[in-house]
């Protein structure tokens, strides 16, 4: 039986007449814990009539059970969305809220004030046009205010509203407000924040939020809402040169080859000449497909697909450009906001994402750290979580970019840890170091495969890693001799021996160990280029450096051999007496004792010398090389 006949949509008549195009302003709120950020945002939602009856009912009942306002409406509950936030009465994560007034639409990123969550503030600020900085009228401009304003200026925010909250708790003192205003303006001047509006408010009471406060007649400026509705934040990217980072090559069939992406800046028209960066190849635009159909012209912000007049090589990560060329370099200088709990290490490899491009990158130098509270430049060896620094980066291949100052989209990047996959840092490009244009690779006529054929072997790196005393050098030495017997060409790079020569300037701190490994990896790669089998015996305690070494040669050329003799066994053997010294505190930073050893997760070969003799281990490695056609 059928209960009813399915109706069909047949009655779509006139379009909505009031198709409105109110512009959208994106802003971020920041301030310390308890300054009242969430309350301010909740109040904006409440007063803009964005809240609906069932949400208001829920707010009223939750204000009674978990509110902090003695049963009155607790506006903060509207935005503190996570259970932990409600329990602790704090905001942990960025929340995005939407509301609209008669004149504008708004997207608010409400960000936490907790020091350990500074990264979330940078996140909220990265897409904002304007920031509201909350200041507790009783405390004035404090360290957190400086910290947040500094991050805002680094992220390119030029418009700030300072909401001086809790005016009721200082008796609506106009002089105190004037003093805070003066103090903030000084700070803004130092930071290059050009547009500042200070407004005295009482967030829970709604004073000067939407309606002008009757309790502060001495204040004649705009309310928060009035200012947000009228401020001009336009910085028109459509006037800049045309840039289209290629996201996707659209090739559904042989007759169509399009390049898709969102225009970062400028405009483009059919027939115009464009250049593909970094290759520099030039052609003309044949067709422009937009979401509303084929057009002659497209402008910044549109997600389009272009077809080109000539068949030239374009792939994801390339940039189509017109007018003055964008910057292209494999070396650049940038500000970093460090996000990861694991500190920044110069020399370590990260994945850099900029626009649609992705490349390996090494922080070559930390030029200085910036003290967030004083803006002073300090020398430093590392950056900890929530610290800001200025660095030089060396990339695996040339990147197409602009400075952050000129172009927020093409001047920004993130660094991702290649092992943990955490977003380690956000970066703002300051300038190109132009290294790529000055140093050219020498073209080599006799290449690796020619040399390898001569030697009748496949070159590779045999990387022995493990604790001190595990048996790395002993086994590597046996393998080296065995290869010589077989008439093969190998070279043994022993960590201890290298420390007498090329690495004699290095100690045993984490940073120095990383540099030690980097140098050995480079030398091993040169041997591979020469067609040889490089044997490396090195503790190399960190996974990410071994990964770097692996990346340095081609796929299949790196054989990681974990000499996995247990610590207790190594310590029992103690051939050089080092464990005894380390236990006695005479050898700081000794691997396995007070510095970690990160075991390989998927080594090609694992050997435990407490179960296998050195000779048997050697034969196993030779067998592996034969089975995998290295020999």
């Amino acid at each position: 039986m059928s209960y009813h006949e399915a109706p069909t949509i047949a009655a779509i008549d006139a379009p909505r007449l009031d198709q409105d195009d109110r512009p959208t302003l994106r802003f971020v709120t920041c301030g310390s814990v308890d300054d009242g950020k969430s309350t301010l945002v909740g109040r904006l939602l409440y007063d803009s009539k964005t809240l609906l009856d069932d949400q208001l009912d829920a707010l009223a009942s939750e204000s009674k059970t978990s509110g902090t306002t003695g049963g009155d409406l607790d506006f903060a509950l509207l935005v503190d969305g996570l259970q932990a936030e409600r329990e602790q009465g704090i905001t942990i994560d960025v929340a995005y809220r939407f509301f609209a007034t008669r004149l504008r639409r708004f997207i608010v990123a409400d960000t936490p004030g907790h020091a350990q969550y500074t990264r979330n503030m940078a996140t909220g600020a990265s897409n904002a046009d304007l920031a509201i900085v909350l200041v507790d009228a009783r405390k004035g401009v404090i360290t957190q205010t400086r910290r947040h304003s500094h991050i805002l200026s680094l992220l390119g925010i030029r418009h700030v509203v300072v909401a001086v909250n809790k005016m009721d708790l200082i008796g609506f003192d106009g002089d105190r407000f004037a003093a805070i205003t003066a103090e903030y303006l000084t700070l803004a001047g130092q930071l290059g924040i050009s547009q500042v509006q200070c407004i005295p408010v009482v967030a829970p009471g709604g004073d000067n939020i939407v309606a002008a406060s009757t309790r502060m007649p001495w204040y004649t400026g705009p309310t928060v809402t009035a200012y947000l509705e009228s401020v001009d934040v336009s910085g028109d990217v459509s006037q800049r040169p045309f840039r289209l980072p290629v996201q996707w090559v659209n090739r559904p069939h042989a007759d169509f080859r399009g390049f898709s992406g969102r225009i970062a800046s400028g405009t483009i028209a059919t027939g115009e000449t464009i250049a593909v960066q970094p290759s520099g190849l030039r052609t003309r635009v044949a067709r422009i497909l937009t979401p509303t159909g084929e057009c002659d012209r497209a402008t910044a912000g549109e997600s389009i697909t272009l077809t080109l007049a000539d068949e030239i090589d374009v792939s994801r990560g390339d940039v189509l450009s017109a007018g003055p060329a964008p910057l292209v370099s494999d070396q650049l200088a940038a500000h970093l906001v460090w996000f990861d709990d694991e500190a920044m290490v110069a020399g370590r490899r990260y994945v850099l994402k900029c626009g649609t491009a992705s490349t390996g990158a090494v922080i070559t130098t930390l030029k200085h750290r910036i003290a967030i509270d004083t803006m002073a430049q300090e020398s430093a060896a590392t950056l900890d979580v929530n610290e800001i620094g200025y660095v030089h980066l060396k990339l695996d291949r040339p990147l197409v970019f602009e400075t952050y100052r000129d172009d927020r989209e093409m001047g920004s990047f993130i660094l991702v840890d290649p092992i943990s996959h955490r977003t380690a840092a956000a970066g703002m490009i300051d300038l190109s170091l132009r290294g790529a244009t000055n140093i050219h690779w020498q073209r080599l006529a006799v290449d690796k495969s020619v040399r390898a054929r001569l030697k009748q072997q496949r070159p590779c790196v045999l990387w022995f890693t493990g604790l001190s005393g595990a048996g790395k050098s002993t086994i590597a030495d046996l393998v080296d001799r065995r290869l010589a017997e077989l008439g093969r060409h190998a070279a043994l790079l022993d960590g201890d021996n290298l420390r007498h020569g090329i690495n004699r300037d290095l100690g045993f701190s984490s940073t120095e160990r990383i540099e030690n490994v980097r140098r050995v990896a480079e030398i091993a790669a040169l041997f591979v280029d020469a067609g040889m089998i490089a044997l490396v015996a090195l503790i190399s305690p960190f996974r990410s450096e071994r990964e770097t070494a692996r990346q340095r040669v081609e796929a299949g050329e790196f054989i990681e051999i974990h000499v996995a003799t247990p610590l207790a066994e190594c310590e029992r053997r103690d051939p050089k007496g080092l464990y005894r010294k380390a236990r006695a505190g005479e050898l700081p930073a000794f691997t396995g004792i007070d510095q970690p050893y990160e075991a390989p997760q998927a080594p090609e070969i694992t050997i435990d010398t407490s179960e296998l003799s050195s000779e048997a281990a050697c034969e196993r490695i030779i067998r592996y090389l034969r089975e995998h056609h290295y020999l």
Binding site: P7, Q19, G81, D93, R97, S126, P252, P291, A298, F413
Partner: protein, 323 residues
């Protein structure tokens, strides 16, 4: 030539909208949301090994599918659609789903938790929380594991619910499909960290910055086909716990003496019919719906029984792998 050739069988051309001139302006609010959604879809296609689009048949899914058709035009979206079928969806939804997939020539995967089915789990016998967990959350996890999808695109919006407001556009899931709200990857500019370890996956939300009203405006402007249940019509309903539940088939147990009454109702959100409360309404056209929306004093999730369990109900479900 139009960029998108979606047959609009049920939706006749809207007078005055055919040239779309009013909305051609790239700075227009909807065009910006559209451009952002397309950008996110292309990033997903480019960065993941095996993405899938979750197609729930609702209005948000209809918009999502429309954006996907645009993003890869003149090609087809380079990913299949996945519908997690609880067997309790409105019949009109299923008919609409099959028709749309056929019309657009897309690969549609339908997955049902057969274990849950054989255990006889229904919204009437096991309560909405347990039912949702088994037939939706676990079913989704099964389907993602079965096919080895590493990115699942969904139509969730930040304005829907408080814990959604904190979700990233690219939202990381552990190997057990769990969301860790306190350890989310920061998301700056339009740069998305898409790196995954084996077994981990990503949920992707191209409509994050859309509001419910944006969705309706866009459906209207773009003439996007939707399930007719969104439009008011006389439908048989019974009242349960203050909600109007449509009697879509014989499986709903009627109380003694209870009989379905015919009311003019429509749905603001669609899901499993026993859990989707209808709204009394006479808005039978899209413009009327938009008008009604603008005057509305309740949120769309009010009709959803499953969000009411506790204030943190959605967050908990999401942490367990619910979409």
């Amino acid at each position: 030539m139009t960029m998108l050739e979606v047959p609009t069988i049920d939706a006749p051309a809207v007078p005055g909208m055919a040239d779309g001139k009013q909305h051609r302006s790239p700075t227009s609010h909807l065009r910006r949301l559209e451009a952002e959604g397309i950008h996110i879809l292309r990033e997903t296609a480019a960065e993941f090994r095996k993405p899938v689009m979750l197609y729930s048949i609702g209005k948000d899914s209809s918009v999502l599918l429309h954006l996907a058709m645009k993003a890869f035009h003149p090609g087809k979206p380079p990913f299949p659609l996945l519908h997690v079928d609880t067997t309790w969806k409105f019949r009109e939804m299923i008919a609409f789903r099959d028709r749309r997939a056929r019309e657009l020539g897309l690969d549609l995967i339908v997955h049902t938790n057969q274990d849950g089915l054989s255990q006889g789990i229904t919204p009437f016998t096991h309560g909405s929380a347990r039912y949702t967990d088994v037939m939706k959350t676990q079913a989704l996890r099964q389907a993602l594991d079965l096919h080895g999808f590493d990115a699942a695109i969904g139509g969730a919006r930040r304005d829907e619910e408080k814990s959604r407001a904190k979700e990233r556009v690219f939202s990381h899931r552990s190997t057990a499909h769990r969301w860790d709200p306190k350890n989310q990857r920061p998301e700056l500019w339009s740069l998305y960290n898409t790196l995954l370890a084996p077994g981990e996956s990503m949920r992707v939300f191209p409509l994050s910055n859309w509001t419910e009203l944006d969705i309706w405006d866009y459906i209207l402007v773009e003439n996007i086909p939707i399930v007719p249940l969104y439009l008011a019509a006389k439908r048989p309903v019974v009242e349960r716990d203050g909600a109007l539940i449509m009697v879509d088939d014989e499986r709903i147990p009627l109380h003694p003496g209870e009989a379905p009454r015919w009311h003019s109702v429509r749905f603001r959100t669609l899901g499993c019919y026993p859990l989707s409360g209808a709204t009394a309404s006479t808005a039978a056209t899209l413009p009327e719906i938009v008008q009604e929306m603008m005057a509305s004093r309740t949120s769309e999730r009010q009709g959803r029984m499953i969000d009411r369990d506790s204030p943190a109900s959605m967050e908990r479900k999401k942490a367990e792998g619910y979409f």
